[in-house]
Symmetry: C2
Subunit: 504 residues, 2 copies
């Protein structure tokens, strides 16, 4: 690793009448470098730090700004950083040993900004109505909580975390920093700043080491932010010879298509369905979540994260379930869940037995009460299917419009990367079956997990990757879809499910 | 001027669907530069600033760190800075228009740290006994007060002051920033830092523009700080072909001897007598202060600052008065003030009439009650003479030891600069007569006023001068006198006054 924060143990000669160099300059001379103080406190405490360890000390150097602080004794073994995926719906943090690159622990939790609205636009509107401070504090407290939990899990102190790298969409970045958002919420959707932001983490309220720095990945344009930069960085799309596509299935769905010749990116408001939110029995991809649904020997078989009984369904299970229901004819191309009368007499008994009615309308039982930890089992409702249609319609419309912009079709795409925090994997056949992805040979699809977190970790561990991320942000072409009639038309069309033939 | 803060008016194209650049990058593109935000607030407010002036805005650029903030409208006409001489006894501030270099106003006041002790050592001890915060706040409040007064006098707002440059000795610098001082108070007198310090002024409590920066001049070594760097910078000693000397008569008396081949500097604890403190009727060199004392036609004649009646005596008047009393034989070489009985019968009546006794011992009336605003007139006491002996003895001992170090005598010095805030001028003959200066031809002596303030102003107006100051600080050789027997011996010897012949 070549992180932006480094430690150098110092063994200083004590001052004498012949050698009356100041403490700070004594340390710099030992390092052979010129560095400014990381803050006035770093200067204030230098004499104490140098003497407390009897002139054995450690220089903590923030390479991005050429600044230093001095710690007493040799602390060079303790150098941690936190990589954060600041998602609209879910926040994930990974605690990393900056010397080895090892991940010590990883924690996630719902973004507490959910209380202010599910999607980024409603949160921006909320911020504009005078609640910016609350929104800002919500995301900060989420990161602080995760930092604390991740450190506890790893048995280390948060004061040893010297840098936090955050990857998130433009709105999440603005709300984390408390940047003015009025101009971002309305056309032409202009960010306050698109460059990377580097500042003292405590300036926004983050509670790691007192001098810890925050690095926020740069923005490509509009709502296409640092999470998309991470997506590209992690998949290497910008260095690919052939044409590739990457899709990040977050609450904002980002779509990227291109090669080293050029990359186009767009953002669509998918909603939180892929992360299990707004789904009646939806949940994040953690223990108890149905992550996979199969039909085997005329029996519905669910796979549950952790191998326990089912407690709900996560994004990958949702896609699998709907694909199955489409194949079974229980869900129509328009997304309607059929009742026993519409399915007719030829429908098998086991299938009919899983169809039921709740106060919310029709639903299909995925896990029976015996297979579940929850009363009545885990079912998929008509409304859940509508939510998925909105989500996949938005993402797929983005894919279609980008392909149209490039004048290409699905067959031209040699590889499709699917990123997201919706499960341990997503079955490519199911994603294609429901029309989330265009009809490509399934073997071309790779599930790459949470690339936003991965990109943050890459940037945490390597200044080279950070510079690469910054070049990506400037170089990738942003295609603004919001408010265009072209998008609205594609969206309405793509909300429908493909017919069984496998075509779009 | 080429100040470290500059303003650039911006006329930005408003964003469109085709030009969706972020606000910050839009401003940077207009400037053709890459700059980081001056703070997270600078980023937060960029969108509002850009729109408030309808895309006419002003970039405020902090050149020292390559950072920027954006102000609405065209404010490029308002760009102020404050130069501060942070003296141990007196604090002086000069408000400067950074575009033209013009001084708009200048204000001074006693250093409120006086309440914690007259000299730097007693203040450092005070700080070490847990009162650092009070000392720090005292110097900060003094600068804030002067800033406020200077702005009021000039009819401008303190929020338009973007940079504060402070020149002061090492202890004053440490106490302003709140740096640890334990190691500075005892041998080998090591500063926490000797480099220049550049930070946000509000970090130490200074209340100019919210983002204003503070630049503190670098330290040469030990107690020889930024004020001595200023002394050298302002007199050009470091560029002189011939050997020159500069003396700053502050509470710490600094002595510098050298040429462009090399410069030596030392610091001595002179006490505040030159600034009128610890003198019974002493005062700073302002309206009402006796600044000059003459004997004309057998009459003592005083010149008073502002031409008004006398209210007290300032440093230059003190030196003049003692020189006169030495010539008159009223004060002996050992510093004793003689009484009528010792002066004998040949003493003229007017002289005897001015000698009187107070509860503090003998005193000599300088300004009669009729010439004064104060009851009983303005007199010089035996104790005042002792204070002056301590002050001039310390400074002169420094001069002697530096000359000894260089192996030179007074005749080798082609020019003597005398700096200080003790009056509008100091009569060279008097300074030599009392032995404050060595016996050099009086025409070689130049009074250069407050060079600490001048150096601060030079550094405020020019980044080139700032770099020059930094080179001076590293290059000048510091000679530590404190605690050496050599100094103690010279000090005791130099406390005596020279005999009338003019020799040392």
């Amino acid at each position: 690793p070549c992180p932006a924060v480094r430690k150098f143990p110092l063994s200083l000669p004590p001052p004498t009448v012949e050698d009356e160099r100041a403490d700070w300059e004594r340390a710099l001379d030992a390092l052979g470098r010129r560095l400014k103080p990381a803050s006035v406190d770093a200067l204030r405490e230098a004499p104490r730090a140098v003497r407390e360890g009897n002139f054995t000390a450690t220089a903590v150097v923030f390479e991005e700004e050429g600044s230093m602080l001095i710690e007493p004794g040799d602390t060079s073994g303790e150098l941690l950083g936190l990589a954060v995926d600041l998602g609209t719906t879910t926040v994930v943090a990974s605690l990393v040993d900056l010397r080895t690159g090892a991940q010590l622990s990883v924690r996630s939790k719902p973004n507490p900004q959910m209380a202010f609205g599910d999607d980024v636009i409603s949160r921006l509107n909320c911020a504009m109505r005078g609640r910016m401070r609350e929104l800002q504090e919500a995301s900060v407290s989420a990161i602080n909580d995760l930092l604390h939990e991740a450190c506890e899990e790893a048995g280390v102190r948060p004061e040893r975390v010297y840098e936090i790298v955050v990857s998130g969409n433009t709105a999440m970045g603005h709300l984390l920093l408390g940047l003015e958002v009025g101009q971002l919420a309305t056309a032409p959707y202009v960010p306050a700043s698109s460059g990377p932001v580097y500042l003292r983490a405590r300036e926004v309220g983050l509670k790691a080491h007192r001098e810890a720095r925050l690095y926020l990945l740069p923005v490509i344009g509009g709502f296409v932010g640092g999470d998309t930069v991470s997506l590209i960085l992690a998949t290497g799309l910008h260095r690919s010879r052939g044409l590739r596509m990457a899709v990040d299935l977050g609450t904002n769905g980002e779509v990227v298509i291109g090669s080293r010749e050029g990359v186009y990116a767009c953002s669509t408001a998918a909603g939180p369905a892929f992360e299990g939110a707004r789904i009646k029995q939806g949940m994040r991809a953690k223990e108890g979540a149905i992550e996979r649904v199969d039909l085997r020997d005329g029996r519905v078989e669910v796979r549950v994260v952790g191998g326990s009984k089912a407690r709900g369904i996560c994004g990958s299970g949702l896609v699998d379930a709907v694909a199955l229901l489409l194949d079974l004819g229980v869900v129509s191309e328009s997304g309607a869940m059929l009742g026993p009368e519409e399915l007719g007499k030829e429908a098998p008994g086991w299938l009919l037995s899983r169809l039921r009615r709740s106060e919310d309308g029709r639903e299909f039982l995925l896990a029976t009460p015996e297979e579940s930890e929850v009363e009545g089992g885990v079912a998929l409702t008509q409304r859940d299917i509508r939510e998925l249609q909105l989500a996949k319609g938005a993402v797929r419309a983005g894919i279609e419009l980008l392909m149209r912009r490039l004048g290409i079709g699905p067959k031209d795409i040699e590889r499709v990367f699917v990123a997201g925090a919706f499960g341990n994997y997503l079955r490519p056949e199911s994603a294609i079956r429901i029309g989330l992805l265009p009809p490509v040979p399934p073997e071309r699809v790779r599930f790459v997990g949470n690339t936003s977190l991965l990109g943050a970790r890459l940037c945490l561990l390597s200044r080279r990757k950070r510079r690469e991320a910054e070049r990506i942000a400037k170089w990738v072409m942003h295609v603004e879809l919001a408010g265009t009639t072209e998008f609205q038309e594609a969206f309405v069309e793509m909300m429908l499910f493909p017919s069984g033939g496998g075509g779009s």
